[in-house]
C-alpha cells in the first residue's frame, strides 16, 4: 500500500520499502522548511539546493535507520540536512573570518513569505530572548554558522570549558522554555 497520504513515520517506512512516492511526499511536506534553513546557513548561490538534494538522497538510502525513539521525523530530517550543511561550511574554510565580517553587517535572511505559524515564532523568540545573551550567542554560532565549540571559543575568546557549559545549559534551558 502506498504511504503517500500518511503521517511522517508512515512515509519514512514507505521510503525504507523503496517507494519513491513516499520520498516525494516527504519532500513536498518538509523541503520548504529545510530549504529555508539551508538558505539561512549557506546563503544563496546553489549550495542550499545541493545540500537539500543530497539530504533527501541520504534519506532514501538511510530511511531504514530511522528510529522514532530518537526523535520526530522532522527533527531527523533537520539533523541530516544540518549535518551536511555544517560539513559544507567547514569545507569552505576561513569561516571564522566570514562570521566576523557578517556579524558586523545587518542580518540578511532569505526573501520569503510570511511565517506560517505565528505562535511558534512568538514562542521561540520569547524563549531565545529569555536566555542569557552569551548562551544565546553560543547557540546561534553553532546553529547558524556551524561552528564547533572549539571554534566558538576561538571566535569569542572565551575558554572552551565555558563555551561547552553555555551550549549545554543554553539548549537545556531552551528545551524547558519551549516545553513550558
Amino acid at each position: 500500500m502506498s504511504a503517500t497520504g500518511g503521517d511522517d513515520q508512515t512515509l519514512v517506512q514507505g521510503v525504507a520499502r523503496g517507494e519513491p512516492s513516499a520520498l516525494e511526499a516527504l519532500y513536498r511536506r518538509h523541503s520548504p522548511r529545510l530549504y529555508a534553513l539551508l538558505l539561512r546557513m549557506l546563503g544563496q548561490g546553489g549550495d542550499a539546493e545541493e545540500i537539500l538534494q543530497e539530504s533527501f538522497v541520504d534519506v532514501w538510502k538511510r530511511a531504514g535507520e530511522y528510529r522514532a525513539a530518537r526523535g520526530a521525523v522532522e527533527a531527523w530530517l533537520i539533523t541530516i540536512a544540518r549535518s551536511r550543511a555544517i560539513d559544507r561550511l567547514r569545507s569552505r574554510g576561513a569561516r571564522l573570518r566570514l562570521v566576523r565580517e557578517r556579524e558586523q553587517q545587518a542580518p540578511d535572511g532569505p526573501v520569503t513569505p510570511e511565517p506560517p505559524d505565528v505562535h511558534a515564532h512568538t514562542r521561540l523568540r520569547r524563549a531565545l530572548d529569555a536566555l542569557p545573551a552569551e548562551q544565546r550567542r553560543a547557540l546561534e554560532l553553532a546553529y547558524w554558522d556551524g561552528l564547533s565549540q572549539r571554534e566558538i571559543s576561538e571566535q569569542t575568546g572565551d575558554p572552551l570549558g565555558t563555551v561547552k557549559t553555555r551550549v549545554r545549559l543554553g539548549l537545556q534551558r531552551l528545551a524547558d522554555l519551549l516545553a513550558g
Binding site: R33, L39, G71, I78, R125, K164
Partner: protein
C-alpha cells in the same frame, strides 16, 4: 574530554546538546554515534538525544518556509533510480534554469485550460482563439502550485503519456460545470487536471479507476479556492494493468462509504495506445 575512545553514558549525556547542535569535532561526533550504535539499548541517552534534537529543530521554526526550485526534486528523482526518474529525462544535477520550468509550466496550463475551454465552448477556430485568450487571463490569476504544474508538465511530455478527456455524464446536476482531463502514463501515474471543482462544505469529489470490474475509489480531490485541481489517482491502482476508464463522482463529505460511486459526473475512456 571526549576523544575517539568509547563514550560512557555520563559523557554522552554531558555532550548530547553539542552533539545535537553539530558543535562537536568530527572525531567526537563519531564517538557519540558509536555509543548509540554499540552495546545498547541506551534509553536514557536516546531520550536525551531526542529532546536535544527536537529543541535544535525548533530553532528553525521561526524561519518562513521557502519552496525550493523544482529542479531540486528532479535531481533527487534522477538520483534514486529509474522508478522515480522521468522516462525521458537524463540524469542531470541541474537540468535547466528554473525560469524555463516556470515558463513551461505556464505553457502546460495554457495548453490544458485551452483544451478544456475549447471543448466546453465551441469547436470553431475563432471561438477557440477567444477561449485561449480567456485562458491566458485565467492563467495570469491562477494560484496553482508551481511545483505541481511543473510536475504535470513533466508527465505531459513524458514518453507514453495519453491525455484522456473527461465527458460530462447525464446524471451530473444542472449547475455542475466541473471539467478536466487525465494525464495517464503506463508507468503507473494518472493525474487529473481539472477546473471548476468548487469547494463545498458538505460534499467531496472522488476519483475512480475502472478496469474490468466495478469502479475502485482512487482518492478524494482536494478542494482549492479557485476550483482548479491537479491531483493524482492513487498510484497503487495503476500498477496492475491498464485501466479502461477514469471517473469522478460527487460524494458526501469524506467520500463514498459504500465502495461504489455516488453521482458520477465525469467519465473518460482510455483509448488504445
Amino acid at each position: 574530554m571526549l576523544t575517539e575512545a568509547p563514550v560512557t553514558h555520563a559523557e554522552f549525556l554531558e555532550q548530547v546538546e553539542a552533539y545535537a547542535l553539530g558543535a562537536l569535532e568530527p572525531d567526537q561526533a563519531r564517538a557519540m554515534a558509536a555509543h548509540l550504535a554499540e552495546g545498547g539499548p541506551h534509553p536514557e541517552c536516546e531520550a536525551a538525544l531526542r529532546r536535544a534534537q527536537e529543541t535544535v529543530a525548533a530553532l528553525a521554526s521561526d524561519l518562513p518556509p521557502v519552496v525550493p526550485p523544482a529542479r531540486v526534486w528532479q535531481a533527487i528523482a534522477g538520483s534514486i533510480g529509474p522508478a522515480a526518474e522521468p522516462t525521458t529525462g537524463e540524469r542531470r544535477r541541474r537540468p535547466l534554469p528554473g525560469w524555463v520550468y516556470g515558463l513551461a509550466a505556464a505553457a502546460l496550463l495554457l495548453l490544458v485550460l485551452g483544451f478544456l475551454r475549447y471543448q466546453a465552448v465551441s469547436s470553431s477556430e475563432a471561438m477557440a482563439r477567444a477561449a485561449q485568450a480567456q485562458c491566458a487571463r485565467e492563467l495570469a490569476d491562477a494560484h496553482v502550485d508551481l511545483l505541481r504544474k511543473e510536475d504535470a508538465l513533466k508527465l505531459l511530455v513524458e514518453s507514453g503519456t495519453q491525455m484522456v478527456s473527461l465527458a460530462r455524464q447525464p446524471a451530473a446536476p444542472p449547475g455542475q460545470t466541473a471539467t478536466g482531463v487525465v494525464l495517464y502514463n503506463p508507468r503507473g501515474r494518472a493525474l487529473l487536471v481539472g477546473q471548476r471543482f468548487p469547494s463545498d462544505s458538505t460534499h467531496d469529489y472522488e476519483l475512480w479507476v475502472i478496469r474490468d470490474g466495478p469502479p475502485v475509489a482512487a482518492g478524494l480531490i482536494p478542494s482549492t479556492p479557485d476550483g482548479q485541481v491537479l491531483t493524482d489517482f492513487r498510484p497503487e491502482l495503476l500498477t496492475s494493468g491498464r485501466p479502461g476508464a477514469f471517473a469522478i463522482s460527487i460524494e458526501k463529505k469524506g467520500g463514498s462509504t459504500t465502495g461504489s460511486p455516488g453521482t458520477v459526473i465525469l467519465v473518460g475512456q482510455l483509448g488504445p495506445r
